[in-house]
């Protein structure tokens, strides 16, 4: 299942990361997982929350530029070679990975979850299923 990921534009100056986190905190919104991409000039904070629409509203009200993108949570074996196997399947399916990051909170029972951003998430979903790679649902990610 696809997930809605939020991304935020961050300028390269102190306080830029703190501000959005503070706004989310004030609204009682929990960050499930996140990743920060940085360049010499700016950064992009990408993150996943339970209710992306609500979080988007909170951040936009605070005057930030927010974007919602579809990402795909993939299950891999939590042991050496687990990620490599999933990537081999992705490569065999001819899918390009824009970026990926770990969903640590969802790791359990010898399995780990990785968030993938593919250029075309729908094509990716079908290809992953065909290749026997398990795609997770939001409930599975949240189950403790």
């Amino acid at each position: 299942m696809k997930l809605q990921q939020l991304s935020l534009f961050l300028e390269n100056r102190p306080g830029q990361l703190h501000e959005p986190c503070e706004a989310l905190a004030a609204a009682g919104i929990d960050l499930l997982t996140m990743s920060l991409a940085d360049t010499s000039n700016f950064g992009i904070l990408r993150f996943i929350v339970r209710d992306p629409e609500a979080a988007k509203e909170v951040l936009e009200e605070a005057g930030m530029v927010v974007r919602m993108t579809e990402v795909v949570p993939v299950e891999v074996d939590n042991k050496p070679g687990g990620l490599a196997r999933a990537l081999a399947a992705i490569e065999a399916a001819g899918l390009g990975v824009e970026y990926m990051y770990d969903f640590g909170a969802a790791s359990r029972g010898g399995k780990a979850a990785i968030i993938f951003r593919f250029e075309n998430p729908d094509v990716a979903l079908a290809a992953l299923r065909a290749a026997g790679v398990r795609v997770l649902a939001m409930e599975e990610l949240l189950a403790k």
């Binding site: 990921q5 300028e11 360049t39 000039n41 700016f42 530029v65 974007r67 970026y99 951003r117």
Partner: protein, 440 residues
């Protein structure tokens, strides 16, 4: 009047001089030029001295082309004679003073007799009529009231037109938007950069401004691309107006429905374009410095005042039917120009370059620095929700597109820095586009 073909609004008799046959207009201009030269010669010591030095007297003016013999007046003359040295009327006849907010040293002071104020209101009525406004329109006047000529100039013009004026002055965006929605505002007067800020905020606050149909924008140079963006984003028609305190304030010239250049109210202000190096008068179509002579001003006549604004005259008659000649919109003010690595740059050129790239709003700031003897130009551009991507390479591509677009127009490479929304200061008056940290 049969030539009248502006959009609905109806003809206002006060606009009749806009449509005079050229020969008749020239007759009025010559007669007024002769009297204003006599007045200045009699009452302005500085002008008299310059005329005497050239062996000229008021009767040297026998045709309109003789104006080229007359000495220029420059901004420094107003500073040097501060505060009242160029007044041509006794204080008993002067009913209003305005002053510029001069950034360096003393401001410049300008004066009006009652007759001058009447002319000012008249040219502002003609301005509003050209923008398609009429009795029944609700005009929100967000130009600053006070010493600045913008607020009161637009105010009295709007009243004389018979429209409903809201004298809200500048600032307090939330109140501006509340008034706009609740009072059913149909037209607004402010700087184009402040209007951009207003519509941005209006969309955020879900303010209904659907009754607004006209913007009367001036007091700072702006580009055609900026106009396209404003008209597209807000659904209003955005008109450029031109004026300066030294001449009268707003009301020197205005665009009509055609939006192809600004008609100058030539029966009151005589325009010339000169080569700013040699002072020679240039033919129509050639770019140069705009020089204006006030033909009817009493309290403070200005003979051949050098505006430092760069434009050219349009010779063809306008499709709107007005016989008044037009100048191309002023995107460049010599005062705003800066030189970087030997290249002359106007902020409006940067604006045009930025707007050529999809997905950027014209909120930008130019920062000039000098690093190890080399001038650096950085342009900070705000990222919009449309332009923002979760992928680094797309944002970097945007940055490169902006750099390429500027290099294309200016011929120099500059550094583009993407900044967050609203991180650049919004001006409620004239936008400050350039920060020069070079300590030249």
């Amino acid at each position: 009047m049969s030539t009248w073909n502006d959009p609905p609004g109806g003809f206002h008799p006060i606009s009749a001089p806009d449509y005079l046959p050229r020969a008749q207009l020239a007759g009025i201009q010559l007669q007024r030029l002769q009297s204003v030269v006599s007045l200045a010669y009699d009452r302005q010591a500085l002008f008299r001295r310059r005329m005497d030095e050239r062996g000229l007297a008021p009767d040297s003016i026998t045709s309109l082309t003789d104006i080229a013999k007359l000495p220029f007046t420059v901004k420094a003359d107003l500073r040097d004679t501060y505060p009242f040295g160029l007044f041509a009327s006794p204080m008993e006849e002067i009913v209003r003073l305005h002053a510029s907010s001069g950034t360096t040293g003393k401001p410049i002071v300008v004066a009006y007799t009652q007759a001058d104020l009447d002319v000012w209101a008249e040219v502002m009525v003609r301005t509003f009529v050209a923008c398609g406004l009429h009795r029944g329109d609700v005009i929100q006047n967000a130009y600053g009231y006070g010493l600045f000529t913008g607020g009161l100039g637009a105010h009295y013009g709007a009243e004389a037109l018979g429209a409903t004026v809201i004298p809200i002055s500048g600032g307090n965006t939330e109140r501006q938007l509340m008034v706009m929605q609740d009072f059913g505002v149909t037209a607004i007067c402010c700087t184009p950069s402040y209007f951009l800020h207003l519509i941005e905020s209006a969309k955020e606050m879900k303010i209904d401004f659907s009754k607004l149909r006209v913007g009367v924008f001036g007091a700072e140079p702006w580009s055609d691309s900026m106009r396209d963006r404003i008209q597209h984003d807000s659904g209003i028609r955005a008109y450029d107006i031109y004026g300066l305190s030294e001449i009268i304030g707003p009301g020197v010239g205005v665009e009509c429905f055609e939006q192809r250049g600004l008609h100058i109210f030539e029966d009151h202000f005589y325009p010339e374009i000169i080569d700013s190096e040699t002072g020679e008068v240039l033919p129509d179509g050639t770019e140069g410095e705009l020089v204006l002579t006030t033909l009817s001003k009493q309290a403070m006549p200005m003979i051949r005042y050098r505006t430092r604004d760069v434009t050219s005259m349009v010779s063809e008659q306008c499709a709107c039917g007005r016989t008044l000649r037009r100048i191309h919109r002023i995107g460049r003010r010599s005062d705003d120009m800066f030189i970087i690595r030997g290249v002359n740059v106007f902020p409006s050129q940067v604006e045009t370059a930025l707007l050529r790239v999809e997905g950027t709003l014209p909120h930008y700031q130019i920062v000039l620095t000098r690093e190890v003897g080399l001038d650096q130009m950085e342009v900070k551009v705000e990222v919009t929700p449309e332009a923002f991507s979760d992928e680094i390479r797309k944002l970097e591509a945007l940055q490169h597109q902006l750099e390429a677009s500027i290099e294309n127009i200016l011929g120099i490479r500059v550094k583009i820095t993407l900044v967050g929304p609203r991180s650049l200061a919004r001006s409620e008056g004239k936008a400050k586009r350039v920060t020069d940290l070079r300590n030249l």
